[in-house]
Amino acid sequence: MGENTMIATRGLTKVYGEKVAVNHLDLSINEGEIFGLLGPNGAGKTTTILMLLGLTEPTLGEATINGIDCTRNSIQVKRITGYLPDNVGFYPDMTGRENLRFTGRLNGLDGKKMESKIDDLLERVGMTYAQHQKTGTYSKGMRQRLGIADVLMKDPKVIIMDEPTLGLDPEGMREFLTLIKQLSVEDGRTVLVSSHQLYQIQQICDRVGIFVSGSLVAAGKIEDLGRQLAKEGHYTLEVAAYPCDDRFLGFIHNMTGVTGIEKEGDKFVVHSSRDLRKEITGFLGTNRYTLLHLRQKGGDLDEIYRCYFEKAGQDEKHEQENKNGKHIFGTKQTKK
């Protein structure tokens, strides 16, 4: 993995009328890395991506890819950057192969070289069998895979994907994520994935950035984010014991630093500002309870995400917090 910065933004801002879609974004993505841009719908992910491709002009600030200014030299940027939109479209009356051929021509390819490249790419994404079908008949998963081949036609250094896993079935999703991973690990391409689907992104990303209402609230490796949260005093503990009675509940409730308790099945989920594990196990031992389950949460993205999101919500008194909160945890939400 290279240490060179591939994608960089400095104070990137986009204002639509009154609404600030992207607010002073400072982002730096290294060469060969998979970066996940996470955030609920309407957080400004797509706007950021469009600015990176020079398709939307930033109100303030600048963005560069491989040192090329995205707004002023968008043609050069688009020569080395592949873009897979959230609902990738193909000409429905043309076959998969014809669609790829058209993209190839737009990128200045021609003749035998292009044909053999198309063969390779179709093979790679596993679409050789459907190359002579019209794309109007393709399923969502097939379209996405053809989309990858389409992006690779120009042999890009950087690949930007906007909600690529939306609407894929689990099997399709798994294959798709493997493909993305390959693009980075085997080919050394830089990949920027935007998504609101946390679990999938967690599996493949080297680093993530959490994006809430136009601002990047956190960025880094997933483990680092978890550690950072713990430092700031956000602990979530799952605990289950037998017998699960009121006395036990009362004990937890009276402990200092507890900010909330939820019951999930036969487990308690305890939110607190400090580590409670030692005291709880001590209590359970001395009072002859049987400990069934004890887990400190915080390492997984879902939790990190929720915490950052809550923090951002508190900061801004964001009205739609609850509404968006639901969106985050939905795994099969469609965008429109």
Binding site: L55, T56, I75, P85, G89, F90, D93, L106, G108
Partner: protein, 330 residues
């Protein structure tokens, strides 16, 4: 050193521009030609042409008995058996061809999600709209020229009289006007396809405009002319008749339909000597003869520039709109 690299860069960009433009142009042509709707308009236009040549041939003997010059041109302007002439048929049906080729040019790309993919390729955004316009224009030219030649060929075989050079030149100029006229409608339809989200809306809007210009514009013109220069009593009639006529004419000429019809009637009828109102005093001493081609052209040159200006104007609006439009938001 810097100069050389920027020069190279420019050359590279020019080459890329040419590549992408030709790829888009070829794709659009292929799309149109293989599409079902192209087959439909081709059938429509061919049927119209054959009907009008049939009408012209049946009405030909009457037309020749009243004036036996420029017989070849009469193939295009004669109506018979209550079938309109080729000229008036094309003036009415021609716009339809342009509309069909252009009404969903941009918004279908947007709705399919292909516009996203297209503009993320290393191409200039205007290549998209220019390529589409050029492809449509090429098809229109091909269609108009082949229909014009078809009429000429059938007519020549049936009446057996060789056209003179002047007649041929007039027909060529007529076809040129027709191409510009239909391209205006192509540009109009493309403008609607940029503005409207749904292709159904843009189709309806452009058809509405077509009907308005073809049918209602003349009614509107006479209503306005009568309101400004009333001719309802003898005094008013004596004072206002000329102004009324001129006002009516000028308003009508806003309509590309009228502009085109007036221009091509003049081109195909050498006996038309003026397109504006002519007073008795202006006619004193005039020779009763045909106008030469140059003189006919002089009469309708403004019409041609007007039509081209309208086409370019409409295309420019859609160009600017398209360049400024947000790509997202489908």
């Amino acid at each position: 050193m810097e100069n050389i690299s920027s020069e190279q860069n420019k050359q590279r960009n020019d080459r890329a521009r040419y590549h992408s433009m030709s790829a888009l142009y070829r794709k659009e042509m292929a799309d149109h030609i293989t599409s079902r709707r192209f087959v439909i308009i081709m059938l429509l236009v061919t049927a119209t042409t054959i009907a009008s040549i049939y009408g012209a041939l049946t009405g030909m003997s009457d037309a020749i008995s009243s004036d036996s010059n420029f017989i070849f041109l009469k193939l295009y302007t004669t109506s018979g058996n209550s079938i309109p002439s080729f000229l008036s048929f094309i003036a009415l049906i021609g716009p339809f061809v342009g509309l069909i080729l252009g009404f969903d040019a941009i918004n279908s790309e947007r709705n399919n999600g292909t516009l996203n993919r297209l503009v993320s390729q290393p191409i200039y955004r205007d290549s998209v709209i220019i390529g589409k316009f050029l492809a449509g224009g090429t098809l229109i030219s091909l269609m108009v020229i082949s229909m014009g030649v078809l009429i000429g060929a059938i007519g020549f075989l049936s009446i057996g009289i060789l056209p003179s050079v002047e007649e041929l030149a007039r027909v060529v100029i007529y076809l040129l006007y027709t191409i510009v006229y239909i391209c205006f409608w192509l540009a109009m339809a493309m403008l609607f396809s940029v503005i409207c989200r749904h292709s159904a809306t843009s189709a309806l809007a452009s058809i509405a405009l077509w009907i308005f210009f073809a049918v209602f514009m003349s009614l509107l013109a006479s209503i306005i002319a009568n309101a400004i220069y009333p001719v309802n009593n003898q005094y008013n009639a004596a004072v206002n008749t000329l102004s009324n006529y001129n006002c009516n004419l000028y308003i009508n000429r806003i309509s590309p339909y009228y502009l085109y019809t007036e221009a091509v009637s003049t081109i195909l009828n050498p006996s038309v000597r003026a397109v504006n109102a002519v007073t008795m005093s202006q006619l004193v001493g005039a020779l009763s003869s045909y106008l030469s081609l140059g003189q006919s052209m002089l009469l309708v040159w403004p019409h041609l520039t007007g039509l081209i200006a309208l086409t370019l104007g409409v295309f420019t609006i859609s160009y600017v709109k398209f360049m400024r439009q947000e790509i997202r938001g489908n």
